[in-house]
Amino acid sequence: MMEQFQEWAQERHSYAQEWKKQTGGKVVGYFCTYVPEEILYAADILPVRILGSHEPQDVTEPHIFGMFCPFCRDCLAQGLKGRFDYLDGIMIAQSCIHIRQAFTSWEMHLPTDFSYYLPMPNHVQSKRATPFLRGELEKFKGAVEEWTGTTITDEKLNTGIDLMNTNRRLQKQIYELRQGGNPPITGLEAMYLTISSQTTSKEDHNREMERVVSELSDRSTGRSIGTRLMLVGSENDDTEFVNMVESVGATVVIDDHCTGTRYFWNESEPNGGDPLEEIARRYVDRPACPTKDWPDRTRIPHVLKMAKEWDVAGAILIQQKFCDPHELDIPALTKAFHEAGIKTLFLEFDVTVPLGPFRVRVEAFLEMLSDEDLF
């Protein structure tokens, strides 16, 4: 039932190429989920997220320091290896300096027709963040209009907003089905669902979600649920890892990743006629990435609320090696989880994940969680 999402996620390049052939439209690759896809959809452009491939590579060394995170290097490697040759443009919204390095390096070595850096404010907790971002979105809209030679009307913007909101609503609805005692989808299927939403046209993705959502409530995965786990971290599209975790007596029921809930958790709210302000507010208010979550750590109560509502027994804190923003949050997150009676396992991720040693850790963690049964 969920196979289509997996196929889209795995065949993302051929999907985008086929989309281009069918529609004659432009494809823009984006590096961060703070990019306002609404505006791209309003211009009939397909936004696709640039993700890595989890293969060892040796092409980024001249361009990115070795102590930058493996994810940003993996992303750049995809460009340098020609896997995104079909892109007409690239863009990023300010989040962390590592992924921005991948963007600027891509801009320099793989020139495209269109390239845009959106200064998404870091201080989203300021009341000036929304008007600031609104102004930047206006400039961005202008740049897209100039590139495509079209005018993006408010009507088109509202279409883009609807498409994005529908996608967010449906994904959330499916994730909410995992709250119950017998989640109808596995963590792996959920991961494919969200990754594919970032690499597929939202029109296709919404249609497929609408098709499956009604049938999902009666679905059983036919496997034992085991220990209910949450994944927390930056980007994580490591399907092999989730598959391993779910093969040793656990089910991932919820996450806080930008390849997961942070991407779709909140919708934009209608504000009576200013779509750009509506979009700006949505990105300022979304569950924050740690690069923007200060001076208050709003992410902690949000994550704990999810952990409670999805009834998790433990959380795996996933750290992309050298990802400073997330690393900074880990002690505070760990403390908060422990105070809430939820145990955590910290794992450091690289381009490839050592499945054997990680299995040892995950099994020991699960044993620790179920230890009460021993005595």
Partner: protein, 266 residues
């Protein structure tokens, strides 16, 4: 009741036979590629030493990297849980166990019942593990069994910067060229490993008392460095390489007793 713990390690198979909380038989067989044969041999030899019949055995629990390949085991336990239970078997006041084998270093903190509170395992690096000592002893052309005692003779501290076994070897070679006495280099090597292990174990919080198990618990030079680094005196059990197998045997006994209490339905 008799229970058996099997530790199917990466290199050796260890078997322990336990009766009323007492080790009555044990065996260690190097597995090589024939793990099945080694397991059989270790089981037979430990049972022979214990003088038991197979039908006396109440329960068998397997641990170690190859614990899935122990067909006669009725249940299993991770290496982390086994290290905690094994350490507690020897020392009722132990709350942290450091387990350093050839390729892995682990730290486990546990409560008075042996329940794991937190654990840490070394990542993708051999510099904190036994294989590092072997490589450094080789570089110094000192037999491994003399490497520990040699280091005890040193009263000099030489900091080693390298965190990688390969680079550390070139650092050792530089020290050799600078005519540094071997005993001081040996101590520098043990200090470096102890420092890496200590900083790793501090992540889970070191709670007294601390037991040291695994192959490196035979190395007096490493023990000395670790004691200085942790500012404590670590507890060393007899036959430290059997600790995980003992932990498995203890759990086998508990689970076996629980199953028989629970009657036929359990």
């Amino acid at each position: 009741m008799v229970s058996i713990g099997v530790d199917m390690g990466a290199k050796n198979v260890k078997v322990v036979v336990l009766r009323e909380n007492e080790v009555i038989g044990k065996a260690l067989v190097t597995a090589g590629l024939d793990t099945e044969g080694a397991l059989k041999e270790a089981l037979q030899s430990a049972s022979r030493e214990a003088g038991i019949d197979y039908d006396e055995v109440g329960n068998i629990t397997a641990t170690g990297a190859g614990r899935k390949d122990v067909p006669m085991a009725r249940d299993e336990l991770t290496e982390v849980g086994a290290a905690a239970r094994g350490a507690l078997f020897h020392f009722s006041d132990a709350r942290t166990v450091i387990d350093v084998g050839a390729e892995e270093g682990r730290g486990v903190r546990f409560n008075a019942e042996g329940r794991v509170i937190d654990f840490v395992i070394n990542e993708k690096c051999a510099a904190g593990a036994g294989a590092f000592t072997e490589a450094m002893a080789r570089a110094l052309e000192v037999p491994l069994e003399e490497f520990g005692p040699l280091s005890l003779k040193s009263d000099r501290e030489i900091p080693m910067n390298a965190q990688c076994a390969v680079f550390a070897e070139s650092e050792v070679v530089s020290l050799v060229h600078a005519k540094t006495p071997k005993k001081d280099i040996a101590r520098a090597v043990h200090d470096a490993i102890a420092s890496r292990i200590t900083s790793m174990v501090r992540r889970v919080g070191v709670e007294e008392r601390v037991a040291l198990v695994g192959g490196l618990a035979y190395n007096v030079g490493f023990i000395d460095s670790l004691n200085r680094d942790l500012e404590t005196e670590v507890l060393i059990p007899p036959d430290p390489e059997y600790t995980a197998a003992i932990g498995a045997a203890v759990v086998a006994a508990e689970r076996g007793a629980k199953a028989s209490e629970g009657g036929e339905n359990s």
